[in-house]
């Protein structure tokens, strides 16, 4: 037994989030850890690594009872962790981030910068990532940052690598590379704890699975002995009725175009993007990492300034100066990085949820608390946000629940167009299906949605048509009828082939 | 130019029509300093001299740097109002080494380390210890049975605060019969002086003498007394140092009982001394300012002359 966590209890200000939870990992095995949003997976991990202290229970690692008081301790004991919220230093370079706290040294004890650079490059090459390792990390998007975090994790010569939703912002090719790495680690006898809400991934890579529910460990099983449906049932504690919920209800849009973007461009990342979204349509936006999807969405939302191109919404040419204008025009935007661009951590769930509709909640400047309360309660219930109370600071919520609150922030304003950038990132299967179903339902009522997702499966299931970007250009528009993974992959790789 | 024996080591000052002189002021955050600076500038203007003026903003170290920049600019003579006794020694020595005579204004430097007539020309000014002593002596004579004292000190660590306290305390102790209820810093400022006086009067309602190290704090103390429902000058004796117009007026009004003058108008005497030195006359080691003393007996008459 490499790791054994037994009867772990943990409460946060009186609310119990772990209740006699346990987790065991054998050397060299890949252990899946699953559960609904807020089940306690991340908390379990943080207790293991010493980021949190436990209230009760024991942790045995490599046969010895351990009591890590800081992540530095667990790291030096041989546990490498890739946390759910990417935790890296944005102003440091990529190379520094990979080697922070264990830099290669020269004979004088100084940093061996050349070696660090070379090694960083080599590691990233393994992930097909050919980036300038001397640039500050903040210059890169969520996916790249995630890859860097992974690179940092797997190069630590650890006995145990923990990946808390490391794949949530990766596309399939990157996931494949990651799995290759995990297999290599496995061959070297390194164990992995793999947390993910994408169940297919679990079947692809994991040996066993531990299921948590409401702070308890409810099942441990070999991966091959548990069917997907049963796994879901164990996680949710009930049947999942709406697993394939996002069925298209209409075969084609009714013709009225809501958004028409033509030849958008900005900087080097968006060069020439055109797309159109009909009223009541869910439009997908697909592309490889770095193809400019997020940037395009931000241009439409006026979060960034565009250099060229035209945008019309509802038949009128628009020139929003800032997001507030877009919002006033009925556009909502769920950004891909909830920690940096989404939540206001110290504010309560209530405040976070109603942030975008503040102007509407005011009567002569004063917030109408009763209405606010009512809206908040409705959406907490509708999306199944798990929180102690609406007054709980949002930072205390689990990642998936934070994501739900952010979705609610936009749904409650009844937008005409909702832009969602990786909307189901970090959301459990149950909730994901329900969110997709919800979006579809809203679309049927007339909402237009622009959905960016790295999960092709999800796009295929939900979108009425998908616009494919490559290298900052829109290269294809695929109607629902023709959507398939192969078709998308081919389109996405379009210019890639030329560049290589 | 030949001087007396005492001048042997001093750099000479050639006789010229126009000079470029430096004036290294300590700070300019109170009326007294402002009056001093103005007096120096006016006099220089009158004589048609060029005055290089620096302000050390209350830092002895910066003042040394200021003097150094004057030396670099090659002034003929430096008037220095030293912020402190000891830390300004390097400035005096640097000027001497550079062949530039220095005249000290209003505060002296440590006599163990630099000597008037050897290292610098002379010191023009009053004696802070003596000021404290003079006001104490007045109190001893005229206290009318009032003996419980609150002292508002100047900025902690500054030499006028230290000296005015020293002179006063020594004289009061020597006389006997007085109690110093409290002695706290009011930073030479009216607002702070008032706040401190308010608090001290509250803690010591029996106090019947307030001695402030400068006019500003005395005015603050008067405001505090009035707020506490006491009559300044009658219920409580108020004493001050500096003797600016406002304070002398307060003496006339009966709100301050006595004030020792510490005249900031150095200009005429400073440049006069400089002229004498240029002529090679022998200068005393200490050119004393003769400061007035205002009390009800002369305040009305002298009011017009107060600075």
């Amino acid at each position: 037994m490499l790791l054994s966590m037994k009867a772990i209890d943990k409460s946060f200000s009186g609310v119990r989030v772990l209740n006699a939870a346990s987790l065991e990992v054998e050397p060299g095995e890949v252990m899946a850890l699953v559960g609904q949003n807020g089940a306690g997976k991340s908390t379990m991990i943080k207790i293991l690594t010493g980021a949190y202290s436990r209230d009760a229970g024991s942790v045995t690692f490599q046969g010895r009872e351990v009591h890590f008081s800081s992540t530095a301790d667990s790291q030096s004991a041989g546990i490498a962790t890739i946390y759910q919220e990417i935790n890296l230093a944005p102003n440091r370079t990529v190379a520094e981030n990979i080697f922070l706290a264990r830099e290669p040294r020269t004979a004088f004890g100084l940093v061996d910068r050349r070696k660090m650079r070379a090694e960083a490059r080599a590691v990233l090459k393994r992930f097909n990532l050919d980036i300038d390792v001397e640039r500050p990390l903040e210059n890169f998007g969520a996916a790249t940052r995630q890859m860097v975090a992974i690179a940092r994790g797997v190069t630590q010569n650890a006995k145990l690598v923990i990946m808390d939703e490391a794949t949530s912002s990766l596309d399939e090719r990157e996931v494949a590379v990651l799995f290759e790495t995990v297999r290599t680690l496995k061959r070297d006898g390194v164990a992995t704890i793999f947390i993910s809400h994408r169940l297919d991934e679990l079947y692809a890579i994991c040996d066993r699975v531990t299921v948590m529910r409401d702070g308890r460990t409810v099942a441990v099983s070999a991966m091959k002995d548990i069917k997907k449906l049963e796994l879901v049932r164990t996680m949710l504690g009930k049947e999942l009725t709406a697993f394939t919920a996002a069925q298209r209800n209409r075969e084609e849009a009714d013709g009225a175009t809501l958004v028409e973007a033509k030849n958008l461009s900005a900087g080097v990342r968006v060069r020439d993007v055109s797309l159109a979204i009909g009223k009541g349509e869910i439009a997908g936006l697909a592309g490889l990492l770095g193809s400019g999807r997020t940037e395009t969405a931000r241009l439409i939302y006026a979060a960034d300034r565009r250099d060229g191109g035209t945008l019309s919404v509802g038949g009128r040419q628009t020139a929003y100066a800032q997001p507030a204008d877009a919002i006033a025009d009925g556009i909502g935007f769920v950004s891909e990085d909830r920690k940096v661009e989404g939540i206001v951590p110290e504010m309560s769930v209530r405040e976070n949820l109603t942030l975008a509709i503040l102007p509407r909640l005011q009567k002569s400047g004063i917030v109408d608390r009763a209405r606010q309360q009512e809206i908040v309660e409705r959406y907490i219930k509708a999306l199944g946000v798990k929180c102690a109370s609406p007054e709980q600071p949002i930072r205390e919520l689990s990642g998936g629940n934070q994501q739900k609150v952010l979705l609610a922030r936009w749904l409650c304003m009844n937008p005409r167009l909702l832009i969602v950038d990786e909307p189901t990132r970090g959301i459990d299967v149950g909730a994901k299906a329900e969110i997709l179903k919800l979006l579809r339902g809203l679309a049927d009522e007339g909402l237009s949605v622009l959905m960016i997702s790295s999960e092709l499966e999800e796009l295929i299931a939900a979108a009425d048509h998908v616009t494919v970007l490559s290298d900052g250009r829109s290269v294809a528009r695929i109607p629902a009828a023709e959507l398939s993974e192969e078709r998308l992959m081919v389109a996405m790789a379009h210019q890639d082939g030329e560049a290589a | 130019v030949t001087g007396g024996l005492a001048l042997a080591d001093l750099p000479p000052l050639p006789a010229k029509d126009k000079y470029k002189v430096g004036f290294a002021q300590t700070e300019s955050n109170n009326p007294w300093r402002i009056a001093q600076t103005k007096s120096m500038q006016d006099e220089a203007g009158k004589l048609g001299y060029q005055l290089v003026y620096t302000d050390a903003a209350g830092s002895a170290a910066k003042q040394v740097a200021d003097v150094n920049s004057m030396i670099a600019q090659g002034v003929d003579l430096i008037f220095l109002a030293p912020r402190e006794e000891k830390p300004l020694i390097p400035a005096v020595m640097a000027a001497k080494k550079a062949g530039i005579p220095v005249i000290l204004l209003d505060r002296n430097v440590d006599q163990a380390l630099a000597k008037a007539g050897e290292d610098y020309v002379t010191f023009i000014g009053s004696d802070f210890v003596d000021e404290g002593k003079r006001i104490a002596e007045w109190l001893v004579k005229n206290n009318g049975g009032k003996t419980k004292i609150i002292q508002l000190e100047g900025t902690t660590g500054s030499s006028p605060a230290n000296d005015r306290k020293k002179g006063f305390d020594e004289a009061i102790n020597a006389a006997g019969g007085f109690t110093l209820l409290a002695s706290q810093s009011g930073d030479f400022a009216r607002d702070k002086g008032r706040q401190v006086a308010e608090a001290l009067l509250q803690a010591h309602p029996d106090a019947d003498v307030i001695y402030a190290h400068n006019d500003e704090m005395a005015m603050g103390a008067i405001a505090a007394l009035e707020a506490a429902g006491k009559k300044p000058g009658t219920d409580v004796i108020v004493l001050s140092i500096d003797g600016g117009k406002e304070a002398v007026q307060a003496v006339v009004d009966g709100k301050i009982n006595a004030v020792v003058e510490c005249n900031p108008r150095f200009g005429p005497k400073a440049f006069e001394t400089m002229a004498k030195y240029a002529k090679g006359e022998k200068i005393d080691a200490w050119v004393k300012n003769d400061d007035k003393f205002y009390d009800p007996s002369n305040a009305a008459a002298e009011l017009a002359n107060a600075y």
Partner: protein
């Protein structure tokens, strides 16, 4: 609207709001401890006059510190408050004494003497906000500009000279009483109440907190971050202006060299002791009031007990750390 099956019912609501209250109790505990100490030790402590002295002395700090609380809540800081006090304090007498331009009607002169300085101070506050938002200059440096130059401006305006005056109408702001309560104390109370209300109940208050908590997210949620920031600096500037008026009125004299000197540190300390994080995203106006009272009481205690200045500095340092520590402990529960 499509509704969903809720997966998990929300857990038992914890008493969140009471937790926030406890965090304020931390400062309160420190405050009460000081009062108890004084009752035991300081002569003549329990009297109306003591209360009066302390309240009038703390009023200006509180007025400034409330503005500082808002600024800090947006993640900024305002070092220029002391200098703005000096400018406002220099301007007012110049107006009613007719130094700038003789105004025949005394009533008009006094009215202008109230309005103009506060507006000027607010405008300079806007300038701070402008620097910060237009060029993304860090607040501590942007306001350092006026910290240095502002006092210089006040000194240049008055040539450094003291302005002494007697003007009952103007000085009502500091010497007057309404129902027996000193005017400045009333101003303080109104400012505190207003700010507390704005923070808790108004949209603007929420915007301040959101901008301080996560500016990017706030902007993406349609909050005009730039405008919010500029506005809080205007408020901070204007409040500093009011405080400047109170100080000069109280002293019957305006000294551009000294009015508001060191105020920024007092105000920031009050904010911190009151439990507002200097990193932004939170604002406890009542906490700030208590924090200022704690600091004032510490000062009073040391003075009244004759602790020598040098030693008082050390004690004050210890007490500030202790107060903040208690405050934080209470908060962590």
């Amino acid at each position: 609207m499509t509704t969903l099956d809720t997966t998990t019912p929300a857990q038992t609501p914890a008493k969140r709001s009471s937790l926030i209250w406890i965090s304020r109790y931390g400062t309160l505990v420190a405050f009460l401890a000081l009062i108890a100490f004084n009752m035991a030790v300081t002569p003549n402590f329990l009297s109306w006059q003591t209360l009066n002295v302390n309240l009038t002395q703390v009023a200006t700090i509180v007025i400034v510190a409330v503005g500082m609380t808002l600024v800090i809540a947006t993640g900024g800081i305002d070092l220029s408050v002391g200098s703005l006090m000096a400018i406002s304090g220099a301007l007012a007498p110049m107006i009613f004494l007719g130094t700038i331009y003789p105004i025949p009607s005394p009533a008009l002169a006094v009215t202008l003497a109230f309005i103009v300085p506060v507006v000027v101070a607010g405008a300079l506050g806007w300038f701070n906000g402008f620097l910060i938002t237009r060029w993304s200059i860090q607040p501590i440096v942007a306001t350092l500009v006026l910290f240095i130059a502002g006092r210089g401006i006040a000194q240049v305006m008055t040539n450094g000279n003291l302005q002494v005056f007697r003007n009952d109408a103007f000085q009502f702001i500091a010497l007057g009483r309404v129902f027996g309560i000193p005017t400045q104390v009333i101003i303080m109370a109104v400012v505190v109440a207003l700010a507390a209300f704005v923070i808790r109940r108004t949209g603007f208050g929420r915007q301040i907190i959101a901008v301080g908590g996560n500016e990017k997210a706030a902007r993406l949620s349609g909050i005009p971050a730039v405008r919010v920031k500029r506005l809080v600096y205007v408020v901070s500037g204007a409040l500093a202006g009011i405080a400047g008026l109170v100080v000069v009125a109280r002293n019957s004299a305006s000294d551009a060299n000294l009015v508001g000197l060191g105020m920024e540190l007092d105000a920031i300390a009050a904010v911190a002791v009151g439990g507002t994080l200097l990193t932004g995203g939170r604002a406890y106006v009542l906490g700030t009031l208590l924090g200022a009272c704690v600091i004032q009481l510490v000062r009073y205690t040391l003075l009244a007990n004759g602790v020598p200045d040098a030693a008082a500095l050390v004690v004050k340092a210890g007490l500030i750390v202790a107060a903040v520590f208690i405050q934080q402990r209470a908060e962590r529960g």
